[in-house]
């Protein structure tokens, strides 16, 4: 008789990563933060399906995982755009015109949408990124940029937009396409 093997929600590489985090700390619960980082690194966000799968496949409680997921701001609970420009708006960056950088980036992104030439970007104001002497500080996904003037923000958006999309963004798009085909 053939045994039916349920396909895992996660890739085999990600499953290995999750298992290694689960065994790495004193308690299984401590693995939740690193596991969620790993899921997000591969899928670009953390869906409730992923949370369910962490319980059914890896025994991490949905309640415990959602406690962490909802508390920490770095976890994305909705599918994001491929690139996130996160500009620090806290005091030191604000003193160096972070508000202007954010406004310029948002206007640039909105303009692209309006002209039917959208850029794969979203822009958020975030709190202190911890490099206050080189304000305004911003992240594009995991890359840090310093002294991000409005001009530099627009330049960064253009430069990243020309690059091949990150693997996680591609995975996110194909997951969403598969999901809507299912519905």
């Amino acid at each position: 008789m053939e045994t039916k093997v349920m396909a895992s929600f996660f890739s085999s590489a990600l499953n290995e990563k999750i298992k290694s985090f689960i065994g790495r700390y004193e308690t299984k619960r401590s693995s939740i933060l690193p596991v969620l980082h790993a899921v997000q690194d591969e899928n670009d966000w953390i869906s409730q399906e992923a949370v369910q799968a962490l319980e059914s496949e890896h025994g991490l409680s949905v309640v415990d995982v959602n406690e962490v997921l909802s508390f920490y701001t770095m976890y994305r609970k909705n599918p994001p755009k491929p690139y996130r420009l996160e500009v620090c708006g806290s005091i030191s960056c604000w003193l160096h015109g972070a508000d202007k950088t954010i406004a310029a980036a948002k206007a640039h992104i909105a303009e692209g949408e309006k002209n039917g030439n959208p850029v794969p970007f979203e822009c958020h104001k975030v709190e202190c990124l911890g490099v206050c002497g080189y304000a305004p500080v911003a992240l594009v996904n995991k890359d840090r940029h310093l002294n991000v003037t409005p001009e530099l923000a627009i330049k960064l958006i253009s430069e990243y937009s020309k690059k091949e999309l990150p693997a996680a963004a591609k995975k996110c798009a194909s997951d969403l396409a598969a999901r809507s085909a299912h519905q």
Binding site: Y25, E26, Y72, I91, S92, L95, C128, G130, C132
Partner: protein, 438 residues
């Protein structure tokens, strides 16, 4: 003015190098370079030189080293609180650097994370911990990589593992990555986070030294604190005390932000004059602008006016007696053309965003402080609002599990009190003016 143990007069900042010795050295982050500059000699002295854990604690106590994360608690004394009984104990490094204005701990990792690892090993030996963590904020991608690399190098070189340097001392180290929560810089919030929970602080007592991570004795130390330990062991407490003042011994990393000509991270002896730091070392304000105010120790520190910094020195006591704090050594410079009402609104946005929501005075208070300051900025303020903000802030102090609420109240009390005239100008603007004239 405090009595400086070693006169700074005429000396340049590059003459005070304990933590920043590797500044400008090529390939400074490598183990090889670190060893060339005396790296791991302190660990060897401790483990192979016959020093007992108590010897280490007493030596650090004698050096006068105080916690560099903000609270300024004597480090040796903190280590001494850990029960001597056998059992699991933990040493955690607080690398959740996120106090607005602060970027010093990351600078240490940028220079060489082995300083931190060696300091941690010595601290772990002193308290009897066989496991330690470096808790880094999630946004510090480079810093995480530098720490991971240094830990791996330390394992490969035999400084970490079951038999450190062949002495039988066992110590394992790992990084733990946060996910965007300022409150995890509070030591019990950090412990909650490391346990895989919301980063909500815990009521003290019991203090972590007795009951911390997984209810085991735990010491949480700041990066800069631990990184200073190897130098102190190598050179002795008296050499360390030559820097700084009687009660604030040693050097400190001062990180300056805001519109100054030469921003950056400067290592200076405690007790260094703030005005000299801003105008001579950092080149003053960009474009020769006039100084309006200084937040001397990160966003949580009450603000000082330009007049108040005239003769103040940068040490724990001098800032405390001026009603503010040294905090993380984050000096934020505010020029004349920036409105303090806007500064207040910006700071309150930070505290509202970062309150963990556990205690009512903080969760509700930070929301109201933001709303009230935003109303004033938007021209909806009425006379008396500044006083109301200071009053609400006063009622948030000393009523919560951790000191976050007090930190939010610091600027919310000091700004309306010291810059009341700027609020009056806002009451006259926009909506109020329109309404007044029908």
């Amino acid at each position: 003015m405090p009595v400086m143990n070693s006169p700074y007069n005429g000396r340049q900042p590059n003459e005070f190098k304990i933590l920043t010795e590797l500044e400008g050295v090529p390939n400074s982050r490598s183990l090889e370079v670190y060893k060339k500059y005396g790296g791991y000699a302190a660990l060897e002295k401790v483990l192979k030189g016959g020093m007992s854990p108590d010897d280490v604690i007493n030596l650090v106590k004698a050096s006068g080293l105080r916690g560099r994360g903000g609270a300024g608690f004597p480090t040796g004394m903190k280590w001494g609180f850990v029960p001597k009984a056998p059992g699991e104990k933990y040493l955690i490094t607080n690398f959740d650097e996120g106090e607005p204005g602060t970027y010093k701990d990351r600078y240490i990792a940028e220079l060489n994370a082995h300083m931190l690892i060696e300091g941690k090993l010595i601290g772990a030996y002193a308290i009897g911990a066989s496991k330690s963590y470096i808790y880094l904020r999630g946004e510090f991608y480079d810093e995480i990589a530098w720490c991971e690399k240094a830990i791996k190098e330390a394992y490969d070189a035999g400084y970490l593992g079951d038999n450190v340097m062949g002495t039988g001392f066992k110590h394992h180290m790992d990084v733990y990555i946060g996910a965007g929560a300022y409150i995890c810089g509070e030591e019990t919030g950090l412990i909650s986070s490391l346990e895989g929970k919301k980063g909500q602080p815990k009521l003290k007592p019991p203090f972590p030294a007795v009951k911390g991570y997984l209810n085991k004795p735990t010491i949480v130390n700041n990066v800069e604190t631990l990184a200073a330990v190897p130098w102190i062991i190598r050179n002795g407490p008296e050499a360390y005390k030559k820097f700084g003042t009687e009660k604030s011994a040693g050097t400190k990393l001062f990180n300056i932000s805001g519109p100054v000509v030469r921003p950056g991270c400067y290592e200076l002896p405690l007790g260094y004059p703030l005005k000299r730091f801003i105008y001579e070392d950092c080149g003053g304000l960009i474009g020769g602008k006039k100084l309006k105010a200084v937040i001397p120790g990160g966003a949580s520190a009450p603000v000082l006016t330009a007049d108040e910094i005239e003769n103040i020195t940068m040490d724990y006591e001098a800032f405390a007696s001026a009603g503010t704090m040294l905090g993380s050594g984050a000096v934020i410079v505010i020029p004349e053309d920036v409105s303090m009402v806007h500064v207040l609104e910006n700071l309150m946005h930070f505290f509202k965003d970062e309150s963990c929501g556990q205690c009512t005075p903080c969760r509700e208070g930070t929301g109201w402080l933001l709303k009230m300051s935003r109303d004033i900025v938007n021209g909806d303020g009425v006379p008396g609002d500044a006083e109301k903000i200071a009053d609400v802030a006063g009622k948030m102090m000393g009523r919560t599990i951790c000191t976050f609420s007090d930190a939010a109240a610091g600027p919310a009390r000091s700004i309306p009190q010291k810059f009341a005239h700027e609020f009056v100008e806002f009451y006259k603007t926009k909506k109020n003016a329109v309404q007044a004239h029908g």
